[in-house]
Every structure is written in C-alpha cells, then in structure tokens.
Symmetry: C2
Subunit: 418 residues, 2 copies
C-alpha cells in the first residue's frame, strides 16, 4: 500500500500563453512527479493568465487549502509579469527592493556582458518577510513565503531555471517536513510482446494499492512496465523496487530490453561495441530511418559502416546485387528480396551483420490480398546465414508508424541475435 506523507500540495502556473493554448504546460507534471518522490500528494493544478486579480485569487485559494504551494511563471521584467505583485497582495505585505536579489541580478548581467537596464530592478522587488531564492541560470530570483503551517514557493516558468531552483530550495524544505519517506520509480522497456499478454504474466503484481505499484503503458510498440515503490526511507524504497524489478525481469525474460530511458538502438549499439562487430543496412520502405536510428547514438561510427537506401529496383540490383529476375519473379516486397538485400549489403560493406528491409509503408502501393499496405520483410544476415521475418502491420497504423515499427522490429531482431 502506498502511504502518502501528511502533506498536500497545489501547483499554480501563470501565463496567458497557457490559458490561450499557445503553449502546453509541462512544469505542473514535472513538479507533481518530483513532489511525489517525497510522498507529497498533489491535489490540484491551477493555471491562470497574466492577470493580477486572477493570480492573487488563485494564490489565496491555494494558501487556504494546502500546506505547500509551488507557483511558476510571471517573474520576468516586463509589464505582464505580475506574480510578485499578486503574491504581495495575497499575503498583504508591501513589495520592497531586496539588496541580495538586486546583487544577484546585477552579477548575472555582468557575467553575460549584457547592458544593464533600470527596468530590471523590478525583478529584485520581493514582498516583505519573504526569502529570496537565487536563480543560477537566469535573471529572475524566486521567492519563498514561509509561515508555521505553510510554504509557498514562486519559481520562474523557464523549465531549466525552475528545475534547478526546485532542487536547491524546495527539496530541502519538503524533505524536512516529510520526514525521510520516499518513493522510487523505475521503468523496464519491453519489445516483441502485446500489452495484454505482458499484463497476464505480471497480473498478480498489478494490484491496486500494492507496494510497489506496478503498471504498464504502451507507446510506439514499446510496452513499458512502470514501478513505484514507497518506503519509510530511501533505502527501503530502493530495496522494494529492486526486488520487484528482479521478479518482473525473471517473468518477462528477453522481452525486457533495458532500463529507464534505454532505446533499442542504444542497447544494440552497446552490444555491437562490446563484441567488436560491424553492421551495414539496406532499406527500401524505411528509407534511411534504420540508419538514422543506428547513427543517433554517439560513437556509432565504430560499428556502423554504411547504409543503402534502395528505393528504386535498379538500385537494389546495382548496389546490393539483388538479381533483377528475382525482383521480377518474386516482387520487390518479398522474403527472397529482403534476404538478398541483407546478404548483399553485408558482402558489399564487408560488415559482420547486414540488415535488409523491404515492404509497403503506404498509404498507396498495396496490392491486397497478397501484398497489402503494412506488409514488411526484415532480413538479418551474418556469417551463419540469413534469417527473414515477415510482419503484417495492421490497418490502424499510418505510414510513419509502419516505418517506425519496422525499424524497431529490425533492431530487436539484431538484439536477440546478439
């Protein structure tokens, strides 16, 4: 059972760019997850525009109903930056120029060699009795309002500044008030299994209210098992999490391809590097996407020798040695051509591994029932021979999704071979 610390929080975002829908608010989700780590329960997100009445009212309501308020945005030097004024009104204190804040702002201008404008002084105005939070990455200092029962933090809206100041100023206060309780999170990315099938294998762990809490999410063919463990301290949370990670890995076996933010191309790259193997690719329907993914990884020049994007049949024959008769008799989208592309690019490049992909990504070009849109052949050649996988992606997938899934399937094939 996940037990929340005795602390509720409200996240308040300000900015007319948010209430007009020009920007999506990502700060609130980030702050909620960050506070959740300490067992703080976020009960509400509120977003208002750059209007002093609206901000003051939202701040007042938040202060009346929770122990902790984290507000972001509206700390800049221009006329529509009103959070300082709204806070001053909400807590009924006058704004005063703060010497410490002014010094920090001036220091930033000097460091960045930017000309000083008197308008920037406004960023040093802080309500009486509040504490200044230094901003290591920008000119807007944050503000901490503290009473015996309540803490309200105002941070800039720029995510990089907000996150750094959250870590420096908010985390110590929350840690102290929550008494060491922690939640720890993990993600195990999986490929080559349906979400339903995976769910069956770990059904008894996915019980509501269990600790750790185990759930699954699916995105772009990758199924992620997500775990959240709660402990009375960090060590307990980590131990519970590690136990469940082992159990999930034991049950799911090789479909788990990594941890945290691991990608298939990153994992495959690491394996190739460790085994001193090289690779070459020959792509038709994926048009270079597999080469692009493999070379997304820094240092990939150590194992990626070359890639062919052979869209035209002539290119397949001329560059990869696929016999024109084979293309004529079996069709460009066939098991035989995929295999010839894989062995052909491996031979031409002199690489240890060769990958061939041919298929119909759509929306046109399908010839049902034998060769509908979504039919893809993926071949992997090495010194032992060539293996071809036939996949039929469903009608519900569009061109970009078919290309994406075909590349992931190829990467997974390489991973399992290695």
């Amino acid at each position: 059972m996940i037990r929340w610390a005795n602390m509720n929080a409200i996240i308040l975002s300000t900015g007319t760019e948010l209430t007009t829908g020009q920007c999506v608010d990502t700060n609130s989700a980030w702050l909620s997850a960050a506070l959740g780590r300490f067992g703080v329960r976020v009960i509400r997100h509120v977003t208002v525009g750059d209007d002093i009445q609206d901000i003051r009212q939202a701040m007042g309501e938040a202060l009346d109903s929770t122990d902790l308020v984290v507000a972001t945005g509206g700390l800049g030097p221009t006329a529509d930056d009103l959070t300082r004024d709204a806070l001053a009104e909400a807590i009924e204190q006058p704004l005063e120029e703060n010497a410490e804040a002014l010094g920090q702002i001036r220091a930033i201008f000097e460091r960045w060699q930017r000309p000083w404008h008197e308008a920037n002084r406004v960023q040093a105005m802080i309500p009486r009795g509040c504490t200044v939070i230094p901003n290591p990455r920008g000119t807007a200092p944050g503000i901490w309002y503290h009473t015996a029962s309540t803490d309200l933090f105002v941070l800039p809206g720029v995510p990089a500044e907000m996150r750094a100041m959250f870590a420096a100023a908010v985390v110590p206060v929350v840690e102290k008030r929550c008494g060491g309780a922690r939640t720890e999170r993990a993600r195990l990315p999986c490929f080559g299994i349906s979400e339903a099938k995976l769910g069956e294998l770990i059904q008894d762990l996915m019980v509501r209210g269990r600790n750790p809490l185990v759930g699954t999410t699916a995105s772009g063919g990758v199924i992620s098992v997500r775990l959240v463990a709660w402990g009375k301290d960090e060590a307990e949370a980590k131990r519970l999490l590690a136990d469940d990670i082992s159990e999930v890995r034991r049950r799911l076996g090789s479909v788990v391809f990594g941890e945290r933010d691991d990608t298939l191309e990153g994992v495959v790259g690491q394996m190739l590097l460790e085994r001193h193997l090289t690779i070459a690719t020959a792509e038709s329907c994926t048009g270079g996407l597999l080469a692009k993914r493999l070379t997304d990884v820094p240092g990939s020049s150590a194992y990626f020798l070359r890639g062919y994007v052979t869209y035209a049949n002539e290119a397949k024959s001329e560059l990869l040695g696929v016999p024109p008769e084979l293309i004529m008799s079996k069709g460009a989208v066939s098991e035989e051509v995929a295999a010839a592309m894989a062995t052909g690019c491996r031979a031409a490049a002199g690489s240890d591994l060769g990958v061939g992909i041919t298929g119909i990504a759509g929306p046109t070009g399908g010839q049902p029932p034998e060769k509908p849109v979504g039919l893809v052949y993926i071949a992997l050649a090495d010194s032992g021979g060539v293996e071809v996988k036939r996949i039929l992606f469903g009608e519900h997938l569009v061109r970009s999704e078919i290309r994406d899934r075909a590349c992931k399937t190829a990467l997974n094939l390489i991973r399992l071979r290695l």
Copy 2:
C-alpha cells in the same frame, strides 16, 4: 485590437495520472485554442485527481464563476471514473440510466465485435435533466448540462474522442452564444534567417494589441510567423488575415517556405514531383536522416532514387567514387569531399540532383580550431555543376540538433535551387 466576446470559460481536467505527473495534460491547451477561435476568454485551467470530492468542488467553483465549463476525463467504466457522480452531486440531480446512451454504447460494442459486460452500463448513467453527447469513436458518451446562464460539457479524456465531440456538441453552442465573432489563425514557416533579423523586417506589424496580432516563434531552426486576426464575422477575420499574409510574404520573400504545417521535405517533394526531377543522397554525419526525411513524404518513390549512408571512408570511395587521396589530403570533412559525394551519388544513381553531406555532429571527433564539432559541408550537384555550403553550427547545439539543422539546410538549398 483583439476584442474578446462577452464569454469566459474554465477548463477542468480530471485524472490522477495528471496530478501525479505521469501524463502531461494537452487537452486544456487544445481546448483553449479552440475556444479562442470564437473569442471565448479562458480564465483558468483546473486539474484534479480521481477523487469525487475534489472533482465536485472544482465543478461547483467553475459553475459559480463562468458561463462555460468544459471538463474532460473520468467517463470510463472503471471504479476510478467518477466525473458522472461528481457532476450529479454538483448540480444536485440523481443519476439515471439513459436509454439513448445505453443504445449507443451497445451499438459500439456490436460494431467492434467486443463481448458485452454489464459493467459498461455505468457509462449510460447521466444526471437527470442533462443531455447525452454521442461519442463516435469510443464507448463513453459525453454529458451536456445546460441552464439559462450556464453550459457545462463533460467530454472523454482521450484526445481523438474529445476533439470530435467538441466539434459536434460544443462548437454550435459557443457559436450561437458568441454571435458570429471569429478569430482566424495562420502560420508562415521560414528558414534561413535569424529570429532577430526576421523580427526587424516586420517590427511594425508586431505591435501589442494590433489586429491581426503578429508574432514569431522559433523551433528547430524554423522561424514561424504566427498571425491571429479577429473579425465581427468569419469573412472579416479571413480578409484581415489574408491582407497581412500578403504583406509578410512580400517583406520576407523566399525565406517563407510554406503555410500552416508545411515541412521543408514536403515542399521540396512537391517541387521535384511537379518538375519530374529525381534525387539521390550521400550522407556521412547525418547518417540517413536526410533520406528518411525525403521518404517521409507519401509518394516519394516517384523522385527519390537512392541514398547512401557512407560513414566509413572506404564506403565514400567505393560507392561514390571519392578518391582516397582526396580524403587523405583534405580530410573526410571538407568542401572537396562533400562536392565529390554529391557528384558521385548523382552519377551512380543517374539522378537529376545529388546531395552530399559531411561534417562532425559530435559530441566527439572535433579537431578545433580548423574542424570543430558542428562543422558541416553540404553539396548540391545538378547538370550545371556543384555548389557547396559550409556551415558552423554553434556550441550550444547537441548531436541530434546539428544533424537536424544540417538536413534542413540541405533541403532549403534544394528548395532555393528549384
């Protein structure tokens, strides 16, 4: 001057996945922009978890303070879907099984050939006096609560369902209440100019409070000029917008590469198609990304013949005929090698155009000061010869950004040539 209609709105989102930060709420931004089109001013977004008290309280507050409330989420069939119950409590009406809603839900199950569970009946429970909103894409009907002064809509949280139901049920009501006033939006994507320089050229149009409102945003090297026009009816808004689009296009000339969601690869593909020209690519540091972008476009097989990803020097010589001595003397990252790659792939493919890209995407491999990370040469060959562009991307860009910008610069070079 943009004038808002006399109508304020609050957007309410429900879901513990939002208040715990597992998901970012994108519905509120979408709804705000959609309502803005009719001149509705969104004064607040509120997000609460799957807690009946929290939802009821947020609904009550929203109904007390605005004319229009749009709520999303919590309409599913499981125990944590509580929006129906919260609405019933907020408006003090009992929940009743609605025959119309039940019929719609049963029809969806039959159409999808899914087994019927009695648990799904709960989705047909609607507070007395409310109207059912059919869901064309899912099983959860929406709910419309209407009084003389107030409209509250509850829609599902799944974006595709929410958007379809917003168009069908919310738009007609808002149109009627707002009396025909409209805002119209446009975007002109530009490439090959800095945001500051572009801003100077249209400075007098970017005045606060002007109608149309003109602004710029930058993302991934593409600068977008965004325009919002307000009119007493749709025709006036469209006319004002069209006038400003002409003026911006006149001033910016060829840096404007399209409209709305146009991409460089889409525009280039259209040009190649219209002129019956073909293209081939030879990539080093971009590793297939340019081929991938070109073949992202459906129908690109008509003009994209083949792509080479020549990471290794041997591949450059063997496949593209780049003399090994040239690579030795000038280096793989040089004007001469880029040119040889472009002419080599054009000759090998027999295409009208050939593109060669070589550079250092980092994070390692730089040899400052002559060849630092971020140095890229892009060559474009046609029957008239070869043109090479040298670009030095700044230190603030990471590997993926350097690869992205190099591809966009190549696409823009092709566009300007055509």
